[in-house]
Amino acid sequence: MLLMGVTLSACRSAPTRLFSLQAIAPSAAPSHGPGAPNAYQGPALRVDSVTVPPAFDRLELVTETRPAQLKIEDLDEWSAPLVDEARQTLSADLIARLPAGRVIFPHLMKPEGTLGLSVDVLEFHADDAGASMLASWSIDAASGNHGATGGTATLRIPLSAGTSPAMVTAWNQLLAQLADRIVDSLGR
């Protein structure tokens, strides 16, 4: 009986942890831009798409143990695909940084003249040396009369990475920084 119990218990899977990204308010983020709320008065914008490096775009969390060595955390999963999470979070970050009504929620219809923001995260690293992200964004000026067309940013934060929660923090903070940069480019 004891043996059977042991055998059965051996068949049980370990519990899976689910992770989700979260927006960070501008004051909480280590900001590089002006601390004051942006007075952007241009056309509204919507985050059309966010892409992440394919290596990280998995159901499971991927951590970087050493440079260029990735590890799939089998028991830690994203609660939604990372690209969707990133799109939601970036939208929330922008809402927190721009005046009300300037950001259209990601799944709403784009009214005429709305700007479309596409973000491509080309590189993402989070190892013991810290976390970094190389991202580029472009603004599709639907009405064709807006000056801001996009930019590229290399972002970096100090972090002791290597675990799943640390990875989530790295994503949160770097996306918040990216939102800051985008807001800056809009304000100019």
């Binding site: 899977s13 998995r58 159901l59 499971e60 089998d74 028991l75 799944h107 219809m109």
Partner: protein, 585 residues
């Protein structure tokens, strides 16, 4: 366990004998019974071993090659071993025991697919799939276990009911073993065997299926069916293609002439003539015949033996002999032709007692007299023999009795002198002289054409060419004068005004065309907007929660991602199927 030294309290062991060795023996016993049952059943179903001898294996292999009876497997080839004669092969076949009754001297075995044949489509299929052994159980024979195999399927299966007849043919053309016999398009029998005999030509065995053998009557006509029939007539050309099986495998057509309708059916084995075509069959030659000579001064050397002698297109005889000869004395070369004329064709009804007004010509003398009388009458009317080609100039040569314009009444020539040193055997064993039918002067088509050309030239010489030239010159000058005349100018003015009318008409129509074009443009614009909207919808731009397609595509890719992840994980941790997901150490 009990350490008590008191051994008297221990129970005594008693051995008990029973016939039943114990429950545990039931299992091997049951197994033994089952094995015995299966063994007996296998033996009972093992089949009957028969030996069939074939000339070649033709790709058959032991174990694989099946024995098939009307499409159903009834056995397999168990082994193929050389026959005792070292030239043929013995096939050992294991036949289903239920076919036991059919294994008698009348059973047939053959290789399907050994000789692919267009007339037997199943052989083509077998040629691709590999050979099988065909089996047709016999009826009424004595039991037998050794058979001689046929190299191909029997044309008439044992047990098929019908009657055999014989056809005699001079040429075989497309008729083969297996060709069908058709009665007005309906297959009623098959050619089962073809034999060649130097004297009589080809002799064909024909099997007519029941109940069609009642159609076979003494006066029936058989001819080789032609795959394609072209009929010229009524201002059109009709083409008729024979049934496909006949095109590939040849066929024999059969018809019952009107006079044969009431006849009794022919007995089995009756002989018939197979004609090369329907026309030849219709013009069948039969009955008593008499030889006649023809002397042609023109080129007649390519007149073939068997060529027709016709009167008004009816075949009344055939050429028997053509040779080169010289006139005695002058040495003038000519063509001497001997032909057989048939009384029945030349004088219809003369041979039939019931139809002839005069007493029937039964003796040889009577036949000759009747023929001579008819021919003399024709010659008196100006008929002469002439070489003919149909179609003209290129067709086969034949002799035609035709009326020649301006011919004097003539008579048959009987001269006993052998001409050109050639001696004739008497017709029908008769030693009497052969009558010579006079031929027309310039007795070929070519001669005829040449003389017609001459006549044409004479006529052409009479055409007043100079006069025509003068007339033409006059017409030309008149035309020239006309073109310079004021009437022509007036015509041109008229044409101009017509053109002006047309352009005015177009100008009036234009205002109506304008709005139509506008409308078309607008429709095109709307269409392009629809396309744009559709494209936006599909690309996800402007997609809302309610619009299902991008959503569905997203769900699909989501599902694909989950599957990929699962596969991925299992590849890395196959043991997780048993042990579940575990944190890595």
């Amino acid at each position: 366990m009990n350490d008590s030294p008191d051994s008297s309290s221990l129970p005594d062991a008693r051995s008990r004998r029973a016939w039943w060795p114990g429950l545990v023996w039931a299992v091997p016993l049951a197994a033994l019974i089952i094995v015995a049952y299966l063994g007996i059943q296998a033996l009972a179903k093992r089949g009957i071993l028969v030996t069939v001898t074939f000339d070649s294996a033709a790709g058959a292999s032991p174990g694989d090659t099946k024995v098939v009876y009307r499409g159903v497997d009834v056995g397999t080839v168990e082994a193929i071993v050389p026959n005792k004669d070292d030239r043929r092969l013995d096939f050992k076949l294991r036949i289903d025991p239920r076919a036991k009754d059919g294994l008698n001297t009348n059973a047939r075995f053959w290789l399907i697919g050994a000789a692919p044949n267009l007339s037997d489509l199943s052989s083509l299929k077998a040629a691709v799939e590999g050979v099988t052994v065909g089996f047709e159980p016999g009826t009424g024979g004595t039991p037998e276990r050794r058979f001689n195999g046929l190299e191909r399927a029997p044309i008439v299966l044992p047990g098929q009911r019908g009657t055999r007849f014989v056809l005699q043919a001079r040429t075989l053309s497309s008729v083969r073993e297996g060709s069908e016999v058709l009665f007005r398009g309906l297959p009623i029998g098959k050619v089962t065997d073809v034999k060649f005999d130097a004297e009589r030509g080809f002799s064909l065995q024909v099997f007519i299926f029941e109940p069609y053998e009642s159609l076979i009557k003494p006066d029936d006509l058989f001819w080789t069916s032609s795959p394609l029939q072209l009929t010229f007539g009524g201002g059109s050309i009709d083409a008729e293609l024979a049934p496909l099986s006949t095109v590939f495998a040849g066929g024999v057509d059969l018809d019952i002439p009107a006079e044969a309708r009431g006849e009794a059916r022919s007995p089995a084995g009756a002989q018939f003539v197979l004609y090369p075509s329907q026309i030849a069959a219709r013009q069948e030659l039969s009955g008593p015949k008499v030889r006649y000579d023809f002397d042609f001064s023109g080129a007649a050397g390519d007149l073939a033996q068997g060529a027709a002698v016709t009167l008004l297109g009816f075949r009344i005889g055939e050429v028997e002999n053509v040779r080169l000869a010289y006139q005695r004395g002058t040495g003038q070369p000519y063509t001497a032709v001997t032909a057989e004329l048939y009384l029945e064709r030349l004088v219809p009804g003369a041979g039939r007692p019931e139809a002839a007004a005069s007493p029937p010509a039964t003796t040889l003398k009577d036949v000759r007299a009747a023929m001579d009388g008819k021919l003399r009458a024709l010659l008196r009317l100006g008929y002469r023999a002439r070489l003919k080609q149909t179609p003209a100039l290129i067709g086969a040569r034949a002799i035609a009795l035709v009326p020649v314009q301006g011919a004097h009444p003539a008579d048959l020539v009987y001269d006993d002198t052998p001409r050109g040193g050639v001696t004739h055997g008497g017709a029908m064993g008769e030693s009497a002289a052969i009558g010579r039918i006079p031929t027309a002067q310039g007795s070929t088509d070519l001669d005829d054409i040449t003389s017609q050309t001459d006549r044409l030239l004479i006529k052409a010489n009479h055409i007043p060419i100079e006069q025509i030239g003068q007339d033409l010159g006059e017409i030309t000058s008149r035309l020239r004068r006309l073109s310079a005349s004021p009437e022509l100018a007036a015509d041109a003015t008229h044409l101009n005004s017509s053109l002006a009318d047309l352009s005015q008409m177009l100008a009036e129509a234009r205002p109506q065309i304008g709005p139509l074009l506008d409308k078309l443009n607008r429709t095109a614009g709307e269409l392009s907007q629809t396309v744009l909207a559709a494209r936006q919808l599909l690309s996800g731009q402007g997609a809302s929660q309610n619009e299902g397609l991008p959503e569905a595509i997203g769900q699909l890719s989501e599902a694909a991602r989950s599957l990929r992840s699962l596969a991925d994980y299992l590849q890395r941790h196959p043991e997780s199927l048993l042990r579940g997901k575990k944190p890595e150490p």
